[in-house]
Amino acid sequence: MKIFGLDLQQYETKKEPDFRVRDKLETITVPLKGGFGTSLSPRVEVGDEVEAGEIIARNDDSTSTPALASLAGEVIEIVKLDSYHEETGDKLEAKVPGIKINVSSNQGTNGSGVDWEKEKPKNLRELLYLAGLTSFGQTGVPTEFNSSLFSPTEVEHVLINGVKTEPFVHHLIDYGEEFTLFKTGLEILARAFPKSQIHFVLDRNTRENLEELSSSQRIKIHIVEYESYMSKSKMLARNILGEEKLDEGGYLLDHGLLVLPEIFPLAAYRAVVEGTPFIRGRLSLSGPATEDRVVETPIGAPIKYALGEDIMDKAEELTIMGGPLSGNKLENLDLPVNKNMDSLVQLPKPQGSQVLAWLHPGLGKNSYTNAFFSALAPNRKKVADSGLHGEERPCVYCGWCSDVCPVDILPFQILKTYDHGMVDEVNRLQPQRCVDCGLCSYVCPSKLPLSETVKRAKQDQPGENHNYVEYEEDEEGLMSVITPEDEKGRGEESE
């Protein structure tokens, strides 16, 4: 319990998630995503029979990772799937191709593994590529193939992000049952990137045998504070690389850091030791409105099916892809499961309006302030819903957004200057430091779109070619701002 500070743990209802496998499917639609926004061209045609684990789409000329058929069957259609912006969650105009397969067998693959301890690093990386695992990370996992913008020798640190600190979000790995497999996966990674340090970051030390892991020279275990922003890879990267390097901007791999999700070591184990490519993804479902579960399902299964028959797309619930603080709204539960999905959170929508809500004692209302009686009842379960809990008002400069910010930026000031188009002022305030934790918007009493604006300001940052602002004085002696973006249309990349 904290008297001062943000205590999002009070939302936690951490029920032990129920683990289930959902693989009885009639059709699947494999999205042809090659990692970081690239689409793949299909290598099969309608009517072809495919095997589970067979490569069905691959682009060798552009940086990408192949897509695999997750179950055996007949290709019946090549469809176009909706795509969404990775950061903002906006629906994009571009569509992603998908291959619809009529499933003939729900059997997995019969691949055979290799003895990883004797294999060359190069061959291990090749196996990861062929297993469809290299599309993870901000810029892909470097291999001898064209799977990343970087080469394997540039990897100095590999960071496995096992931090799940946003409210309700579950771990995808059962660190009890699957610990040995996971540990072997980490060792495989250490062998695949022989010059790198492997970091495994967890939010709390739940297992004693983690010490066993840290006994290895190559694998370092980090336990971080239980704060919601700690699950952000960029936040962890700050701690490993140091703040100065992060503030320079660029990709994390520019500084030698490869960040991978928690599922990666397990998937690497299966690909290398068992010979099973990454055709089954894991997805956790949680939130106050549902029964918590972790589901393993073939990639390409509709999300709705993967979660189970009892989970319906209810109108009174909001489904969020990712954590409730930084995720995006998921409007279509018929979309197929893809490799990068890891958690879904369902929050109830607020039911009707509340009479004189600002006078209620608010025993179940969590707040950064102590202006609610909930501050006196820290053990009481807090109500979580997707409500805004108030109307948008002008900023009153309370400063809470900058107080909670884990990277010391001033979101209110960025909002003010961004809205007035003061580009050079915005740039000075270093919006690129933002780790997208969403806490500024969470605490704002005026309900201002702080985190959204900082995100946009970050995307408008001048790149290498210095789009500095130009001033011109007009006849009346007023300064008017001319930016290169103004001439081309704001937000467009300059070439």
């Binding site: 309006s353 009479v355 302030t369 002008p394 009153v396 400063g399 809470w400 309900k447």
Partner: protein, 360 residues
Amino acid sequence: MNRLERLMSDISSYTEDNPYLQHITEVIDTVRSIVFEPGVSADKSPFLRDYIEIKRYMFAVVLAVAPAALASIYFYGWRALAMIVVSYVAGGIAEVTFTLIRKEEITEGFLVTGILFPLTLPPNTPLWMVAVGIIVGVILGKEVFGGTGYNIFNPALVGRVFLTTTFPVATSSEWLIPMTGGWAGFKQFSVDTVTSATPLGVFANSGTLAPLRDLFFGNIPGCLGESSALLVLAGGIFMILARIIDWRVPVSYLGSVFLYSALGTYLWPNQVAPPVFQLLAGGLLFGAIYMATDPVSSPTTKEAKWVYGVFLGVMTVSIRAFSGYPEGVTYSILLMNMFAPLFDEMVMTFRYGPIQKPYK
């Protein structure tokens, strides 16, 4: 309640369609949003939001000042309440008028200004003067800048200074002696015992110090809200614990008053009163807790809050000791309000460096 809500939404949509009533839609909507919190979902991430909102934020200040307001009734009779009511009504009319002109929603900041303003006035201020003061405060102190959130000065203090300079006799020459014992002011409308000076005034004229015990519990003449240091402090502690105000401003303000007057009373014993007397007398506590902490008109960054508080303290003691005025809290806060953006800017320059020079 559902029926009431439906009725209000019907009225709102009716006025919206009616060309003659269109302009009052915002007022109806404001009333509706005060009574019913709409169950709207967050549209963009984060989808989980804090339950705090501006209405509750402002109401917490009102709650914190309530004991001091009650005490003012106890000390000076029900006329004190009449002053608060007049302030709310007259200021409310000014606020709504501006809302109608600007076609924007009413903002909740007025909840606070409306009660803080009368508490800064002498207890015998004529009621019409209260109305004039709050109207000037709301309009010149806030609305001309664009409403809550855009004002440079604390609106309550703008109204207060307007009255002090326009009606100097009525607002600073006569003070009432508070009643104590039994039900005191709760049994009557107003107090008639008149004195000529507050403890600060007495010290400026004769160098006599009022007993600290009276200053602390409230048995001294002065403005409505500042009588009892104890209750003002209690409100401050409540707001700091509730996080409605930041502790840095009152701590640095009071701290610098303490240090500066300790030094001053050693160097110029006839002009600078001793530190504890300085802290408890006059409007210092009330100003440090309710006025200097106004988030809009004070600096926002932590470092700037320290600087702001120190400057406030130095200025307050200086005005009290070396100027013609016995009290300097109002003037120092208004003067430092002007510097608040500058202090923030200095902190930003220190933290992030100067703004990039335009590229040539």
